[in-house]
């Protein structure tokens, strides 16, 4: 058995003239928590639909647990795809979803599901049509966690969940993952909230992979240098500049990959250094790319 859960090579998906996924290649290792990050419309949902066999690829190859997921019962039984927009029959109540889910997920843990129902205070007998947006999301979160599928996708699973409920989700996810390691792909734009849960980060933008990196390597990989414009410009000259900002004679430039010696040199030059969070880093990467396309050839470029 390999350690690869997903292998994607040259994957492309077009909807008419629109290219949603553009020649993507990456792998997902087993039993890691991946963050699939990117702006709205970047192609996150389409990518997960392709990986779960719900969409058909235009070209390229796509393997999940060693085979194409399309109409492959063996592969699909190992997947659970929780999406924000999941539809349920009009007459359903949450009890119907939780009663039928165990027939499709072999690893279903009913005790965990019961506990999560209490945690999220989900009214089991209320018609699904009358649930709030948050309660609807709670159903998805409960199914996604209790199914314990070897590969679980959460596509923006928290719509309408308040901060408390989201924290419950993150805590339960981590708790259960520790005891039952599995591959989890979490698509979100609340990067700060989940960044500590992630082991690996995939950032996509306009259908392409922008970053494919170990989360720990990304953290602390960039610094913002603040100081007099002339000093800052002198220091960052020739470096990998992620973003640039300034007011009057002050400049604030985010650069990648400073060594300890370089940091000391910056401080000696009277510059202020501040760390860059994963969210800031990704926001800056995904905005700068659209504004200054020449920065594409950097240390984190797509096929690193």
């Amino acid at each position: 058995m390999t350690d690869t859960a997903v292998r994607v090579t040259g994957l492309t998906k077009k909807f008419g003239a629109f290219t949603a996924i553009d020649d993507m290649s990456f792998t997902v290792e087993r039993n890691k928590i991946y963050g699939l990050l990117g702006r709205n419309g970047a192609g996150k949902t389409t990518l997960m639909q392709l990986l779960s066999g719900q969409q058909f690829a235009t070209s390229g190859s796509l393997e999940v647990f060693g085979a194409s997921p399309v109409e492959n019962a063996r592969v699909l039984q190992s997947l659970c795809f929780i999406k924000e927009s999941q539809k349920y029959p009009d007459s359903f109540r949450p009890e119907h979803v939780l009663a039928s889910a165990p027939w499709f997920f072999a690893n279903w843990d009913a005790a965990l599901a019961d506990r999560l129902v209490d945690d999220f205070r989900l009214p089991l007998m209320r018609p699904i049509k009358k649930l709030s947006r948050g309660q609807l999301s709670a159903i998805g979160v409960i199914v996604g966690l209790a199914s314990r599928a070897p590969l679980t996708f959460f596509d923006e699973p928290y719509l309408g969940l308040d901060a408390v409920a989201r924290q419950i989700f993150y805590d339960r996810l981590l708790e259960d993952y520790v005891e039952h390691p599995r591959t989890i792909i979490l698509s979100t734009h609340l990067i700060d909230e989940v960044s500590n849960l992630l082991e690996h980060v995939l950032v996509i933008d306009e259908g392409r992979i922008l970053m494919d990196q170990d989360a720990e390597l990304l953290r602390g990989s960039a610094s913002t240098v603040v100081g007099k414009k002339t000093d800052v410009d002198a220091f960052v000259a020739g470096r990998d500049i992620i973003s640039r900002d300034g007011i009057g004679g002050l400049a604030s430039v985010t650069v990648a990959g400073l060594s300890e010696a370089e940091r000391a040199a910056a401080r000696a030059a009277g510059l202020e250094l501040s760390p860059v969070s994963l969210q800031q880093l990704i926001v800056q990467r995904t905005t700068s790319i659209t504004q200054e396309p020449e920065i594409k050839t950097d240390a984190w470029s797509a096929r690193a």
Partner: protein, 126 residues
């Protein structure tokens, strides 16, 4: 707690080191498991494991098969030694460097430190 913009495993390793230096975790006693760290700090267990492994590589922690990670004998002394060296490099060096720029001699600096520490003690006593 965990702060943004710095590798988490470094922060975990630092926290364990601090606990050993402060005597919160004694030598030859177990440290919390990777999973306990992960749950407590709400971080990925692999990341927490990386922090613990870093201390194992440094010889601060060692593994007892089937039981867990323990603090090595002499770990506290070695950490204090290493931290003292860091203190010298990170604080004393720049301090003297800045002092030299202003024409303050090392003796004058030592005098300033004495006065500062005595007023600080008084301040904290009152």
């Amino acid at each position: 707690m965990i702060e943004a913009g710095k590798p988490i495993f470094v922060q975990i390793a630092d926290q364990i080191e601090n606990d050993i230096i402060d005597g919160v975790i004694k030598e030859e006693t177990p440290v919390p498991s990777t999973n306990e760290f992960a749950a407590f700090h709400r971080i990925n267990p692999a990341t927490a494991g990386k922090g613990v492994n870093r201390l194992v590589e440094d010889g601060i922690l060692y593994k007892r098969r089937g039981i867990g990670m323990f603090v090595a004998t002499g770990a506290r002394q070695r950490l204090i030694g290493a931290r003292t060296e860091q203190f010298r490099a990170n604080f004393v060096g720049p301090l003297l460097c800045e002092a030299a720029k202003l024409g303050i001699t090392p003796e004058q600096v030592a005098g300033m430190i004495r006065i500062e520490s005595s007023t600080e003690r008084k301040g904290s006593n009152s």
